[in-house]
Amino acid sequence: MNVLETFRTAYGALRAHRMRSTLTVLGILIGIAAVMLTVALGQAARTLVLQQITAMGTNLIMVMPGGEGPQPEPDGDYEGFSYAALSLADVEALADPANAPDVTGVAPTNESFIVASAGDRSHDSTLAGTTPDWLSIRGRSINRGRFFSADEVARGARVAVLGSTTAQQLLEGTDPIGAEITLAGQSFTVIGLLNTAGSALGDDQDNTIVIPRSTMLQQVEPSPPNEVGLLYLQTRDQESLSAAYQQIEQTLMTRHGNTPDSKDFSIFTQQSLIDTANSTTAILTGTLGGIAAISLLVGGIGVMNIMLVSVTERIREIGLRKALGATPAAIRNQFLVEASMLGLLGGVLGLLLGMGAAWLIGAITDFPVVPSVGATALALGVSLLIGVAAGVYPAARAARLAPIDALRTE
């Protein structure tokens, strides 16, 4: 019995039980669609997060206080709080090419949240107190006006640069440049507007107010003038990132008297963020995809179930085919092909449904959903495999039937 004839017979048998075949296909369809959808959305989420990480600035390294493992005993300078472990002296050390030749810029920054007001409006915003290097290190640019200068940092000038969201919320309808806003009871002059940067890792980067760090520490959130919340550092280029990482780590460990097992600071590079984001989305996609795969398994069991029913129901037909010369292999192949057709049909339709749903979600949200050739091939392969796997046992049973037992059954 040739291949074409086997397919023709299998197709005929499936068509003879349209309702049953349709429902069985539906089981696989839903499973494949669910897996396709979760994988497509997982990949889209990953792409989105990576875009946002890249948008945070190029060749960026961040240093934050506090590290993994047991924290070293703070000495006199740090007053017991591990998050106060960074100081302006660290900044100077890192800015020194003798210590860190691959670091091209350091922006000591203190960040917090603040309620800003202008006239009768008020708005919650992030507040960053930093130095002029922040602009280029964070990969931001000025839309209108200007950024503050080193001189204004030295003087503790009350000037502010606003993100577009903050500017819109506080100063809509007026020219923001030159406008006055109030932070913690102090009046600030708006001197510049930042270009939009979208959101990164859930933060709206445009909902921000940037002021000189000296002003922040002296007048907005009174703190010791040496205290640094976090450091943004820029490296020469992508290649020098790991060299810069080691220079920063070595410099800070020496200065803080840390050992490799016990550090009071943490260094994040874009790569480490990307790695974290990748593993997070992978876990998420894996978990959801796994749950979806269970429905696929149920669909496979449905195929097996219906194939067993089909074999039992067609015992007489099997007996007759054997009497007319069908070999056990021919009978086995016929049922295998039937099961595979159910699986593959469910796979193709489920693929279309899953991709369609993903595309729709991509179209109505800004999720960057892209069709994946790999996932498509995998879905088709898996559905075919499920069909074959579900068909093996029923087909073997059909092939094993003795022709006389099969013919005898009424």
């Binding site: 040739n2 085919r321 007319l324 070999t327 056990p328 003795a402 013919l407």
Partner: protein, 231 residues
């Protein structure tokens, strides 16, 4: 001397049903020469169905030898038996056993499908076989659209289409009215006169009377004369 179509030598068949073993055939000898028309008679439970299964290569003997067209089929595996059934035997069943979803034409083609015959040749041969049984105008009908007699003629066409050495009919008229029975038996007479070898299993004397030779099954044994107790 020609090779007999069938040559059964001391064929035994024992079924193990639970603890008790049932001896369905207790040493059957039967030789059927080419071109003969043999009727096997016997009451139910006599073992004639078992004999039919073994002659039809649907089952293998527990002991003894069975030569079909001179080759020993008594120890063949299922795959080789399938080929033998396909090439050497044409079955006609009491229940017709046509596939209801296929047309008469496709039903008759079925043995040729398993023989690996190409579609064009298959169609031509099936058409020819249907013409031979007088159903040339019913090729596109499905079994449900045919009378019992017509269905049985389709199944005879299916049995003939591979040009087998043996035509094996198991109670072929059991489900037919007298007119259709007459048609089928006339068809068998015609096939016999063409030189085909026929083995017919029946319990009806008037059907057996059309054959050139009758043999009788009783208690798992075969004899050429009607056993006294039955007669």
């Amino acid at each position: 001397m020609t090779t007999p179509v069938l040559d059964l030598r001391q064929v035994r068949k024992t079924y193990a049903t639970g603890a008790a073993a049932v001896e369905a055939l207790r040493g059957v000898d039967l030789v059927v020469e080419p071109g003969s028309y043999v009727a096997v008679m016997g009451p139910s439970g006599s073992g004639k169905s078992t004999l039919m299964h073994i002659v039809g290569c649907l089952d293998v003997p527990s002991a003894g030898q069975y030569l079909l067209q001179g080759s020993d089929v008594s120890r063949m595996d299922e795959r080789r038996l399938a080929h033998v059934r396909n090439r050497e035997i044409g079955f006609v069943f009491q229940q017709f056993n046509l596939l209801p979803s296929l047309t008469a034409q496709r039903n008759v083609e079925l043995p040729l499908v398993y023989a690996g015959v190409r579609p064009a040749e298959r169609r031509a041969r099936a058409r020819e076989a249907l013409d031979q049984v007088g159903l040339g105008d019913r090729v596109e009908h499905r079994p449900g659209e045919l009378s019992g007699g017509q269905q049985q003629r389709v199944s005879i066409a299916r049995a003939l289409v591979t040009n087998p050495a043996l035509l094996l009919a198991d109670e072929p008229t059991g489900n037919l009215d007298s007119v259709s029975t007459g048609d089928v038996l006339t068809l068998f007479d015609g096939l016999h006169s063409e030189g085909r070898t026929l083995v017919l299993i029946t319990h009806e004397h008037d059907v057996a009377a059309r054959a050139e030779r009758s043999v009788y099954m009783f208690d798992g044994r075969l004899s050429d004369v009607l056993p006294e107790r039955v007669a």
